[in-house]
């Protein structure tokens, strides 16, 4: 006997004994109840509990669902997951969401602000925004492939995403790097607390990290002082210690007379777009004030000047001989 047979048999058996009670139940007079009793009540405990549970928790569940969606959307699309800083002279920082779209932009100087207004960046992929920024910098004369130093910095805690970001940025600047590999530097910002410090000094995180690196190797320079240097010099200082040279190596030759073609430089208030500027060597800090030493600068030009520029190798040699403190050599 299969299921169908069983069902048929049950059906037949029950139908046979189903009584016809219509005449009785339809004709007996009944008294209308004033209220439900426990027999006819509609809110059975099982039913009530289920209804109450449903009604009571439905809004809560709905709210939770909305909250969950909102959190997910924030987490995925609005939460700052990584930061990319673009520093030339304009200094701009891009805040990225989890899918590397730019959700916020911060300019750290007026040049950066004008650039930010010139490019579309909101929710665009970071590669596109960096590309647009570099294009705008080139158009406005801030970026020259042979003479401008480009610093790209990225901050991302997750190693694999950091590598992906590094690859993206490298791809964007591959053309510039091919033209002049020494003028493009990409770094990962590894100091977590740097954001707060950078905010205090009004600098991008990339600049801040470079300054800290330079200060570690060259503790005599303050952050304020280092922040005034051009990017290329700052980068050089972040890689080289000025005190590493032996101290007994004084320049033997007598300084030559100051050439008439010495450029008249005032203490730089802005980063100079020269290939490598050595102004910082003639700056002195005094009670947080930076003073410009004209005599030092004239002596440096007298020693290493070549036309309208300083010979880098010569200056480097002097720096090494003086042990990083040009004053000692100059005074002598």
């Amino acid at each position: 006997m299969n299921r169908r047979d069983i069902k048929q048999r049950i059906n037949r058996a029950v139908r046979q004994i189903t009584p016809n009670v219509y005449d009785h139940v339809a004709s007996v007079p009944v008294q209308k109840m004033a209220a439900h009793d426990y027999i006819t009540r509609q809110d059975l405990p099982e039913e009530r509990s289920q209804t109450t549970w449903t009604l009571g928790f439905a809004p809560a569940f709905a709210s939770l669902a909305v909250l969950f969606v909102a959190i997910f959307a924030w987490w995925q699309f609005l939460r700052i997951d990584s930061v990319v800083a673009v520093d030339v002279n304009p200094s701009i920082e891009l805040r990225l969401n989890r899918i590397s779209r730019v959700v916020a932009l911060q300019a750290y100087n007026p040049e950066g602000e004008s650039l930010a207004e010139a490019v579309t960046w909101r929710f665009s992929p970071v590669e596109d925004v960096v590309q647009r920024l570099l294009g705008a910098m080139e158009q406005q004369g801030y970026l020259q492939s042979d003479s401008s130093f480009l610093l790209l910095s990225y901050q991302q805690k997750n190693q694999s995403r950091a590598e992906a970001l590094n690859q993206s940025l490298n791809k964007v600047v591959s053309g510039l790097k091919q033209q002049n590999p020494d003028m493009v530097y990409i770094q990962r910002v590894e100091i977590e607390e740097i954001a707060e410090l950078a905010d205090d000094y009004g600098l991008s995180r990339g600049m801040m990290q470079l300054i800290l690196k330079a200060q570690i190797l060259n503790p005599k320079y303050s952050v304020e002082f280092l922040s005034r240097l051009d990017l290329q010099t700052l980068y050089w200082l972040s890689e080289n210690a000025m005190h590493s040279a032996p101290e007994n190596t004084m320049p033997e030759s007598t300084p030559t007379p100051v050439p008439t073609a010495i450029p008249t430089l005032s203490p730089p208030t802005q980063v100079m777009p020269t290939p490598r500027s050595w102004e910082y060597l003639c700056m002195e800090e005094d009670d947080d004030e930076v003073e410009w030493d004209e005599d030092c600068w004239a002596w440096l030009w007298a020693t290493c000047g070549e036309g309208d520029r300083l010979n880098d190798d010569c200056v480097q040699r002097i720096v090494n001989q003086c042990g990083g403190d040009l004053d000692d050599c100059f005074d002598d």
């Binding site: 006997m1 059906n11 029950v14 139908r15 004994i17 189903t18 009670v21």
Partner: protein
């Protein structure tokens, strides 16, 4: 021939109950036609359900009558919730529970009486009723209710779930488990008779 007998002896489950909140409201307003419609549509499934609860034909009949009377006396109080059958089954269930304390009569005793009862429209088949007795004793209450409503009244599983306030998964699992029990019971009986 066997097929023909099956067709005659076991009409297909009817799926003609078409009751709604409005019908109950009309009964509450003493509309006799409405009550007649209700009776024609629910008598079979209601009895099957009550029988599954009581496992006793006579008690089931008593409760069936009381259920109709309760419907008539409380229909005007019914709050439309879109599930009038759930309300009717609830009344039947409450009445059944109330009567549970009264002395039980065995189905076998009932069968002897039913054989001579002129109220039953179809010819009485003793084997079917022994089979029914076995079913009622083999299955638990949920399985009985679900299987009887499905097989006798043609209720779909989701309708049973709705009107008995059960999750559909419970209905399906109980139905399946109950039918398996019955199949095993039948196979066991066959093996014993050989």
């Amino acid at each position: 021939m066997i097929f023909f007998m099956n067709v005659i002896g076991a009409p297909a489950p009817t799926r003609t109950y078409k009751i709604d909140d409005d019908l109950i409201a009309r009964i509450g307003a003493d509309d006799q036609d409405a009550f007649n419609t209700l009776y024609e549509n629910i008598n079979q499934p209601l009895y099957a359900y009550i029988l599954s609860l009581t496992q006793d034909a006579q008690n089931a009949e008593d409760i069936l009558q009381e259920t109709y009377l309760k419907i008539r006396s409380a229909a005007h109080l019914y709050k439309a919730m879109g599930k009038p059958m759930a309300w009717i089954f609830t009344i039947a269930r409450n009445l059944s529970m109330m009567q549970h304390r009264s002395a039980k009569r065995t189905v076998e005793d009932e069968i002897d009486q039913l054989e001579h009862d002129p109220r039953f429209s179809m010819q009485f088949d003793r084997e079917d009723h022994i089979f029914l007795k076995e079913i009622l004793s083999q299955l638990n209450e949920k399985e009985r209710s679900i299987i009887l409503l499905h097989t006798v009244s043609g209720y779909k599983h989701r309708e049973i779930a709705r009107d008995l306030n059960m999750p559909l998964s419970t209905v399906l699992s109980n139905y399946s488990r109950g039918m398996n029990k019955l199949r095993m019971m039948v196979e066991h009986q066959k093996a014993s008779s050989k």
